[in-house]
């Protein structure tokens, strides 16, 4: 078992033990993830860095059971994922898709979709938290920009009060202003509320921006891990060096 710090005092919130994912596509078997093990701890940011097609998003999908691992074990708060009701688990391990989907309705309807009993005050405070004015509540989602949609999706995710947030390439479609807003929000949630953020990215600059422990995944395997700055400036492995050479660093 690998971990960010051997002297870590607490139990991991999420533990992956030798997990693998194999898919059959067009009659041929393909290994998407091979023998992945890692411990994720509460109140920290993790970057999952690697080239496109490395299996990063597939890994996130296993963490909230949108897909099932074909081998190994994943535990959340010490209990295996299959011991949780999948719908309840997904509210505790929230997932933000790379391209956020908005249900065709108003911003308010999208937020109420998660919890119809939410009070107006809670909805407004949630919007303010993601830096959107309350006027947006009555707006149809079709008129929102990509950045605004991303923030509404983030608010919708946070309404569930997740313990872990899984973010799939969260800034890839955002401009600099929206990226830094999202970054600030994620950092606040991690340091303020003790949420664990696991962020998938193919861009080493984004991993540096979010900072935190960074896991380098290539061809479905965990190649190396370490603090973002250290891993990106001094990769220990040949495959790490070769990937990072072409990833903006």
């Amino acid at each position: 078992m690998t971990g960010p710090d051997s002297a870590e005092p607490q139990n991991p919130i999420l533990r992956a033990e030798n997990i693998s994912l194999e898919v059959i596509n067009g009659g041929t078997r393909k290994n998407i993830i091979t023998d992945f093990s890692f411990d994720f701890y509460r109140g920290k940011i993790y970057n999952i860095l690697g080239p496109s097609g490395a299996g990063k998003s597939s890994l996130l999908r296993l963490f909230n059971r949108l897909d099932e691992a074909t081998g190994g074990k994943i535990s959340f708060n010490g209990k295996e994922l299959n011991q949780y009701n999948p719908c309840r688990l997904r509210r505790r391990v929230g997932y933000l898709f790379q391209i956020p989907y908005m249900f065709p309705a108003t911003v308010k309807d999208n937020l109420l979709y998660v919890d119809p009993s939410l009070s107006d005050d809670t909805i407004v405070s949630m919007l303010l938290e993601v830096n959107l004015e309350p006027d947006y509540l009555a707006s149809n989602v079709e008129v929102l920009s990509v950045g605004e949609k991303q923030r509404v999706a983030m608010a919708r995710l946070l309404i569930m009060k997740p313990e872990i947030i899984l973010l799939d390439e969260p800034t890839s479609a955002l401009d600099e202003k929206n990226s830094s807003l999202l970054l600030k929000l994620v950092k606040n949630k991690v340091s303020g509320d003790g949420i664990t953020a696991i962020i998938v990215t193919h861009d080493s600059r984004q991993a540096l921006m979010f900072d935190g422990e960074t896991l380098l995944i290539i061809k479905g395997k965990l190649v190396e891990h370490g603090p973002a700055k250290q891993l990106i400036s001094h990769p220990k492995t040949e495959s790490g060096r070769s990937f990072l050479k072409g990833s903006g660093e």
Binding site: I24, N64, L66, E68, P86, C87, R88, R91, F97, Y101
Partner: protein
């Protein structure tokens, strides 16, 4: 009109020949299909006529049940061939068509609208099953294609803690409507745009128009019942076939 015989049928073939000639003259590439259709319909219907005569004469409960089962199986296969891309399409079709048809038939028997006689059961089953077949195939295809083309919407709902049913609610509703559209349109326009088959057949055979209308109404309500039940069952089972028991979307690769 009374006493129609094989000679009348042979004379009416002139009309089919005229259609073929027009197709040939206008170089419409349907002569082959048209010829096959003319021959097949002739052979199939004559064979069915003799088979029905045998079933009607025998009046055996087992034989009638066997005929209904064969009709359901053939209907299920036809529905399956229209929706092969869906996992378990044959069983889904069989369950949907079988349940919708049998419940409707049973109600008609229990409520004494019809008696258990081959001359009622067989033709009504044919109408019920063929309509249920179309409804099931349309509902299965619609839901399956909606789930595939709205994968992100479905998975967003799943990721927000919703179950498979809630994640696909609007697609389910659309699919049931797709299955029922034909019968709903039929009920809206019946008697205005066209006189429906059952009624026309009865009038041609010499029945009183009002009696024919009563039968047609019974047929319409019967079809509405079977189509609704079959569409809902088809949609429920298609939904289940697209998900694992853990509310994970599984698409056929």
């Amino acid at each position: 009109m009374t006493g129609v015989g094989i000679e009348n049928v042979l004379i009416s073939l002139i009309l089919a020949a005229v259609a073929l000639a027009i197709g040939f003259f206008w170089k419409i590439p349907v002569q082959k299909n048209m010829s096959i259709g003319i021959i097949r319909s002739f052979i199939q219907l004559i064979a069915v006529g003799y088979a029905l005569k045998y079933v009607f004469d025998l009046e055996s409960i087992w034989l009638i049940s066997a005929v209904i089962l064969v009709m359901i199986l053939v209907g299920s296969h036809a529905s399956y061939s229209m929706s092969k891309q869906v996992r378990g399409a044959f069983l889904i079709s069989f369950a949907a068509i079988g349940t919708g048809s049998l419940i409707t038939l049973c109600f008609m028997l229990i409520l004494k609208i019809i008696t258990f006689e081959a001359r009622f059961i067989i033709p009504l089953s044919g109408m019920i099953i063929s309509n249920a077949m179309n409804a099931a195939a349309l509902a299965i295809n619609r839901l399956s294609s909606d789930i595939k083309s709205n994968r992100l919407a479905v998975e967003t709902a799943l990721a927000l803690g919703k179950g498979k049913r809630e994640s696909c609610r609007r697609f389910q509703q659309q699919a049931v409507i797709a299955g029922m559209t034909s019968i709903l349109n039929f009920m809206k326009t019946v008697g205005i745009v066209a006189l429906p088959g059952a009624m026309t057949g009865m009038i041609l055979a010499g029945a009183e128009p009002l009696e024919a209308v009563f039968w047609q109404l019974i047929v319409a309500y019967m079809l509405l019942s079977s189509v609704t039940i079959s569409s809902i069952i088809a949609v429920e089972l298609t939904l289940t076939s697209h998900f694992t028991p853990h509310h994970q979307l599984k698409l056929k690769s």
